[in-house]
């Protein structure tokens, strides 16, 4: 199953900005996070197809998953 994974801010360091990735059916957001060597506790926001999702969410073919560390501003 192929989906697009997007990383932001310091999660990009030593990884990538955006990549098409293959994962088994039934993979969760959290599993993708840990597969990238990111601590799920450091994740601020995850979005699937521009909507907020929780880390338990199962992903599907063609999804766009965005993973952000804890950030803020004004």
């Amino acid at each position: 199953m192929r989906l697009t994974v997007r990383l932001f801010a310091f999660f990009r360091d030593g990884r990538f900005r955006e990549r098409e990735c293959d994962y088994p059916e039934g993979t969760t957001v959290r599993e993708i996070i840990t597969s990238l060597g990111i601590d799920p506790g450091e994740v601020g926001v995850t979005m699937l197809n521009s909507r907020h999702c929780c880390q338990d969410q199962v992903v599907h073919q063609g999804d766009k998953l965005a993973i952000f560390p804890v950030i803020g501003g004004g």
């Binding site: 801010a9 804890v70 950030i71 803020g72 004004g74």
Partner: protein
């Protein structure tokens, strides 16, 4: 030095230093400016006439060593919105005024003659002098010349040509520790100072210190407070990427107003993002981390250099970059930085002016994406006060009216900032109900709608938005009174030690015993004071509405509209 009120009468050209009335004792920053404006300004007065007053106040903790406590508030009746207005900024002025024992400056009246003035505040006195050399000059020239005249350590509050010409987007600028500028941006307060014919205020340094009633308790509370700020991951992200870190997350959420609020995502987002800005800054030997006032531990500001590694701009904010970037479709950070620098010098609000440019693009005055055109209009039209320059310099609503545009994103005539309310409903409530017109900082629901701070409220649903905006507007009014930068709120929302430490510092400074409930009451009182002023000025619940197009035009990619009902919006004020 005991705190006092410095009153400056520009009709009689006299000054007086007065005792603080009992009613004003517990106030500072926005609470104080709003209390004074509500007490002394006729709500129906013309904002550019003799009856308006400009009040400048440091916060309750300004001048102490409390981390992040150096914000200054400017207040008046706004010539842009017609409502009460408070705009705040960093820079060095708040700390310097507090150390001189200045609780507030009140500038009232209006000169009878066609002359300009400057004001000097030092340990001895408040002095008004006629000013000729700097009239018509940009803010950077004012800071430089004032440095020569008075000394480099003087604080400066200044207006640029926009304020002199009484443009409604004119800001008030505050000198920062590097001699650059921070802005009391929103609501045209620069025009109020221009109408009183004050070009700048110089503040002398002093060795005097602010009195602390209980120094030991203060020190301990500050230690806890500072740790909460430093440890917070958002502080760290801000120190690396600046507020511009928001471009990508707001774009991903489909809420980045693009092409004059006609879409929620911008193709060029990566080119203007905080990540890209960080890399450019580092590559050109700028500073990605920089504070706008001494004692700030978050350091969200930056110094952005041009291709030749020379200073181009600082305080390069998400709002400015969004507005010229996504809203005007300019995907070139160097052109945006040039425009940012020009706006600093001219003394004009980057949000209002840039959203006005977006409306002007919709009107065909220039093309979307024309960054060179934005810079040309700033230099040759706005700075020169041509008729086109004046139309744009009077804000987004003004451009819409002059050119017959219907997609004009304003509330109470103030331009809507960098979050589309159709895709983030909580911020729409803030825009609609804020006593200040469309303003994102007044009740920053983005924290909870998008960033997962202080909980999670779905940005695309109606549920919980009114309560979220209300709680944040109340808390923000209180924080705005302390002299604290609003970015302490990220730590305050998620670290239980933060707010109690802030309250402890206030108590230790003044020898009082406020509780957290007292702080909430303070916030509510300020909002009610401001609302009462607006009602007396003629505002009703019909003004707490978003423009029609937000209801009619679905915003891609979510294809959502603003659908909060009038009753739901008005329920915001159901609190006592």
């Amino acid at each position: 030095m005991a705190d006092r009120i410095f009153r400056i009468n520009m009709t009689e050209l006299t000054t007086s230093i007065e005792e603080v009335p009992a009613d004003w004792m517990g106030h500072g920053g926005r609470g104080l400016t709003s209390t004074i404006v509500a007490a002394e300004v006729e709500p129906t007065c013309h904002p550019l006439g003799a009856k308006n007053k400009l009040v400048i106040a440091p916060g309750l903790l300004s001048g102490t060593v409390a981390a992040n406590s150096g914000r200054i508030s400017c207040g008046a009746k706004s010539p842009l919105t017609g409502t009460i207005k408070e705009a705040n900024a960093g820079g060095t002025a708040a700390q310097m005024l507090a150390r001189l024992g200045c609780k507030a400056i009140i500038i009232e009246g209006q000169p009878r003659e066609d002359r300009w003035y400057s004001i000097l505040i030092d340990e001895e006195d408040v002095t008004i002098s006629e000013e000729t050399d700097l009239v018509g000059k940009g803010n950077f020239a004012v800071v430089e010349e004032a440095g020569r005249r008075f000394g480099d350590r003087h604080g400066i509050i200044t207006i640029g040509p926009a304020g002199e010409m009484k443009m409604l987007a004119a800001n008030i600028s505050i000198k920062d520790p590097d001699g650059k500028l921070r802005s009391c941006g929103r609501g045209g307060l620069g025009a109020v100072l221009g109408a009183k014919r004050v070009k700048f205020i110089a503040i002398a340094p002093t060795d005097a210190k602010v009195e602390i009633a209980d120094p030991e308790k203060f020190r301990e509370a500050n230690r806890v407070f500072t740790k909460a700020l430093v440890d917070n991951p958002i502080s760290q992200a801000l120190g690396t990427y600046g507020t511009n870190v928001l471009v990508n997350i707001i774009n991903e959420a489909g809420a980045l107003p693009t092409r004059n609020f006609s879409a929620g995502q911008f193709d060029g987002h990566e080119k203007i993002s905080g990540e890209t800005m960080h890399d450019i800054i580092v590559e050109r030997d700028g500073r990605p981390k920089h504070n706008c006032h001494p004692g700030c531990v978050i350091q969200c500001s930056q110094i952005y250099n041009d291709k030749d590694r020379k200073y181009k701009t600082s305080g390069f904010e998400y709002e400015s970059i969004w507005a010229m970037g996504a809203d005007c479709c300019v995907d070139n950070l160097d052109l945006i930085a040039e425009a940012d620098h020009l706006m600093d010098d001219i003394g004009i609000d980057t949000i209002e002016t840039s959203v006005a440019m977006g409306v002007a693009m919709e009107a065909g005055v220039l093309e979307f994406g024309d960054g060179e055109g934005i810079c040309r209009i700033l230099r040759e039209e706005i700075a020169a006060g041509t008729p086109l320059g004046r139309i744009i310099g009077c804000g987004a609503g003004s451009v819409g009216r002059a050119f017959g545009v219907t997609r004009v994103p304003v509330v109470k005539n103030q331009a809507i900032p960098a979050y589309d309310p159709r895709a983030v409903k909580g911020i729409g409530i803030t825009y609609a109900t804020s006593t200040q017109g469309a303003d994102h900082t007044m009740g920053y629901t983005i924290a909870t709608n998008i960033l997962g701070v202080g909980g999670n409220v779905d940005p695309l649903g109606k549920e919980g938005q009114v309560e979220l905006s209300r709680n944040l507007q109340i808390a923000t009014a209180a924080i705005d009174s302390t002299g604290m930068c609003l970015f302490i709120a990220f730590a305050a929302l998620d670290d239980a030690t933060c707010l109690p430490a802030l309250v402890d510092m206030i108590n230790a400074r003044y020898g009082i015993s406020l509780t957290a409930d007292d702080v909430t009451s303070l916030g509510k009182t300020i909002l009610k004071t401001e609302r009462a002023f607006n009602q007396a000025a003629g505002f009703t619940s019909r003004d707490d509405r978003l423009p029609e197009f937000f209801r009619e035009e679905p915003l891609p990619p979510h294809n959502v509209v603003w659908d909060m009902t009038d009753e739901e919006i008005d329920a915001f004020w159901d609190f006592s």
